[in-house]
């Protein structure tokens, strides 16, 4: 037995899978599909026949996605916040690679054989932890964050995160201990490694939160769309 509602849900899933994930275009397309089906059913065709015709006339998902991409819509605030998150994490990751490694190598070179294996490994471990934290925060933050439905609050938190990034970097740069280069004590060195590492890690985490809040909402919205269609 043909289930029209289920068929529409499946069609919606196909569209989502093909990348037409923005709620507004997909909703409009579904409304059109339903109008077309309702209109054609008046002429005596079965639900299955009308659904087949309507899906064919509305067009293929990849083709539609290509056309929607050309719309050149101005960036919405949500996209700007998400992009800012991407930039924060990318900068943090990039800087971690370039900031910490030279410090680590300079320290090892300066101390050569005088330090134990454990001491030599410590900075590498610290560096690996900061990189891992960045990657993990990027991948999983949105799963841990609550879904904040209040758009204004969500955006305010996002913007605060990015402002926080800038303030934190400024704080670290201004508070780097002076004369570290001349005095390569282990304590000084670990402090610098920690500050440089944490500078970028904090930036990555804040960027991940700003981006993750928006991502959490859009993931939830896509899930609700699917569930609403199934009910």
């Amino acid at each position: 037995m043909f289930d029209l509602e289920q068929a529409i849900v499946d069609w919606r899933k196909q569209m989502l899978a093909a990348g037409i994930s923005a709620p507004a275009p997909l909703e409009e397309l579904e409304i059109h599909l339903r109008e077309d089906i309702a209109q054609q059913m008046q002429s005596g065709l079965s639900a299955q026949q009308t659904f087949g015709i309507a899906v064919k006339t509305i067009g293929q998902a990849p083709e539609l996605k290509r056309e929607f991409k050309k719309t050149g819509a101005p960036m919405e605030m949500q996209e700007i916040i998400r992009l800012a998150g991407v930039i924060c994490v990318a900068v943090a990751l990039f800087c971690q690679v370039f900031t910490c490694s030279p410090v680590v190598f300079a320290f090892l070179f300066a101390h050569g054989l005088k330090v134990s294996l454990m001491t030599r490994l410590l900075p590498f471990a610290a560096w690996a932890i900061t990189v891992a934290t960045t990657v993990l925060s990027w991948k999983y933050t949105h799963k841990l964050l609550p879904v904040i439905h209040n758009q204004l609050l969500r955006r305010a938190i996002g913007i605060l995160c990015y402002v926080g990034c800038l303030l934190w970097i400024r704080f670290v740069l201004l508070h780097l201990p002076k004369g570290v280069a001349e005095n390569f004590s282990l304590g000084n060195f670990l402090l610098v490694t920690f500050l440089l590492g944490s500078e970028w890690t904090v930036m990555a985490i804040l960027g991940g939160i700003g981006h993750g809040l928006e991502k959490a909402v859009s993931k939830k919205a896509a899930a609700i769309d699917l569930l609403a269609g199934q009910s």
Binding site: L29, I31, E35, D36, T57, G59, F68, A73
Partner: protein, 110 residues
């Protein structure tokens, strides 16, 4: 069947001209174009929406969510001032092409 390129090029002037009669929604626009061209202007229905969105972002038309008589949700589009100007330009250009073609055709019979 009319060539795809011509159908695509005519979409914007046709939508603008239809909306100049009053606000309308996607499905009705397609039906009216079909009816007025005796079904010869066949759009892939879904393709109308990217066109409408593009025109909206260019400030030619505006949209609002509303409801049909039966309570069904619909997105209505209407013409903006810039849309009227764009429509006048389209008419001018298409009439020019039409008059050149008509003139050339006429000469063939002289």
């Amino acid at each position: 069947m009319i060539r795809k390129e011509l159908v695509a090029a005519s979409a914007e002037p046709l939508v603008l001209s239809l909306l100049s009669k009053g606000e309308s929604y996607g499905y009705a626009i397609i039906q009216e174009v079909k009816a007025r061209s005796d079904g010869k202007l066949q759009w892939t229905d879904g393709m109308l929406y990217p066109v409408l969105h593009r025109m909206e972002h260019r400030g030619l038309i505006k949209s609002r969510w509303g409801e049909s008589e039966t309570g069904r949700k619909r997105k209505y589009y209407s013409l903006k001032k810039d849309g009227k100007t764009a429509m006048a330009k389209h008419h001018e250009h298409w009439m020019l092409v039409h008059s050149v073609l008509a003139g050339l055709k006429k000469e063939q019979y002289v």
